[in-house]
């Protein structure tokens, strides 16, 4: 009887936590980079992320070798610049600090946490939108990223230097975590 009641209590505790966590492994991440007279976009469709509403945890990461700029040679150069052998992921781990109503519509969302890239971790705040849908949570966010903040030397195309400020966008539909 003691173990049964303990099991029930544990199950009760577990339900709200896992029941309100959302995941994706197929989100979209983009960066836009520019050199004089030219810009290009790198895209990945394998952004992995998880949002747990009970404790407001937000956890995202991207395998940087999945970024595709549409030019194989440039992709290889980019991976060298980012040193993806040593630091394969861009990752964020933090908290949703803005109020969120699971029954509301599209809402402004603000997260604060650690963003790691190229072996450097910095505290960042990112704003975006979060929208409950029939299939889960739709997340959209965009921010500027300074390569120099992460000890990344902007690559050069001959003597023309790539803009050290990159525009980053992510978009993902997070579905209720399986098993809930």
């Amino acid at each position: 009887m003691r173990y049964l009641s303990l099991t029930l209590v544990l199950a009760f505790l577990a339900m709200p936590v896992s029941g309100q966590a959302f995941m994706t492994d197929s989100g979209t991440a983009e960066f836009e980079s520019s050199v004089p007279l030219h810009s290009f976009v790198g895209t990945s469709e394998v952004l992995v992320g998880r949002i747990a509403l009970p404790d407001s945890t937000v956890d995202f990461y991207l395998d940087l070798e999945t970024l595709d700029t549409g030019n194989g040679k440039r992709d290889k150069d980019m991976k060298k610049t980012l040193d993806t052998d040593e630091h394969p992921f861009a990752e964020f781990f933090g908290k949703l600090v803005s109020p969120f109503d699971p029954d509301g519509g599209q809402q402004e969302a603000r997260v604060v946490g650690s963003f790691s890239l190229h072996g450097v971790t910095r505290e960042v705040e990112v704003s975006g939108t979060l929208e409950p849908t029939a299939n889960g949570l739709q997340l959209n966010a965009a921010w500027e990223l300074s390569l120099e903040d992460y000890d990344i030397v902007p690559p050069k195309l001959l003597i023309i230097k790539v803009d050290p400020i990159q525009q980053v966008r992510i978009s993902a539909l997070l579905t209720p975590e399986s098993g809930t």
Binding site: V17, G72, K73
Partner: protein, 285 residues
């Protein structure tokens, strides 16, 4: 005791909720870094291929012999061979290309296919590619179309051994439909062979993200044309982001695989080498 267990379980659940996900690579069987920065080792082809949709423009340039001295600016004034090339990535594993060399006014057409990619997981330990090239000399000499043709076939076996070292071994066959028998200046008969078989050996040692040292040795196995020698080249690759520059010393002033294997007649260790450069630029379409 029960309260302690509940407390422990609650802490466990909360900590699990707040824990980071395990970071997992999207493709554990992804290919290793490219073995060579460009599609050419120096004179011969490398296992590196173009990605689908990439167009690579290359200029290969080999000057006269350095041993010709200062009066010829160490070969710069000498007769230079130049090859302009265009290659296109049809698939990530397949490219087609064409080029035109100054010597013998040769147009050549090529296909390169990567049939196996070395993976970081070790599931595939080798990079394997095949190359086929057909050359057509367009000198006005009254020869028939068939007589003008030459061919090269290469099986390229490459392996990246570390972040710095990559090695390629390439059994190669070269065939010329037309060869000549002539007398040299001393009256000796010089006879050419139609077919040469060799094994090109190449290595790339990365010094850093910008520079790499490259060597290439193309020995002929078995019968060969008179007065020919094994081609040797030593160079430096410079990766600028967008362009790859190759600066080299080479015995060979021939710029296709079949000519390099069958026609080289200078001896590196006798001081008979020339300097040259290749430039590669890749565009995306």
């Amino acid at each position: 005791m029960r309260i302690a267990l509940l407390l422990f379980a609650s802490i466990l659940l909360v900590s699990q909720a707040a824990a980071q996900m395990d970071r997992q690579r999207a493709d554990p069987n992804r290919p290793v870094d490219e073995l060579f920065w460009s599609t050419a080792v120096i004179g011969t082809s490398s296992v590196t291929n173009l990605s689908a949709g990439d167009l690579n423009y290359s200029i290969k340039h080999a000057f006269g012999l350095v041993s010709s001295g200062i009066e010829n600016l160490y070969g710069v004034d000498g007769s230079a061979n130049i090859r302009f090339g265009l290659d296109y990535g049809v698939r990530d594993w397949l490219s087609v290309g064409m080029g035109r060399s100054r010597f013998d006014k040769v147009y050549d057409f090529r296909v390169k296919a990567n049939v196996l990619r070395q993976t970081v997981s070790g599931s595939s330990p080798l990079e394997v590619a095949v190359l086929g090239d057909v050359g057509i000399t367009t000198i006005k000499n009254g020869f028939s179309f068939t007589d003008r043709l030459s061919y090269a076939g290469m099986l390229m076996l490459g392996r990246r051994f570390s972040d710095r070292l990559a090695v390629q071994v390439s059994p190669t066959v070269a065939h010329f439909n037309t060869v000549f028998i002539a007398r040299d200046g001393d009256g000796n008969v010089v006879e050419e062979e139609n077919t040469h078989i060799g094994v090109a050996v190449a290595a790339n040692w990365r010094l850093n993200e910008l520079f790499a040292v490259v060597i290439e040795y193309v020995p002929v196995l078995g019968g060969r044309s008179d007065n020919t020698t094994d081609a040797v080249s030593v160079g430096v690759d410079i990766e600028t982001g967008g362009h790859v520059f190759q600066l080299f010393f080479s015995t060979s002033d021939w710029l296709t695989e079949q000519h390099m294997l069958a026609r080289n007649d200078d001896d590196f260790f006798a001081g008979d080498f020339r300097w040259g450069f290749n430039i590669h630029r890749t565009f995306a379409f």
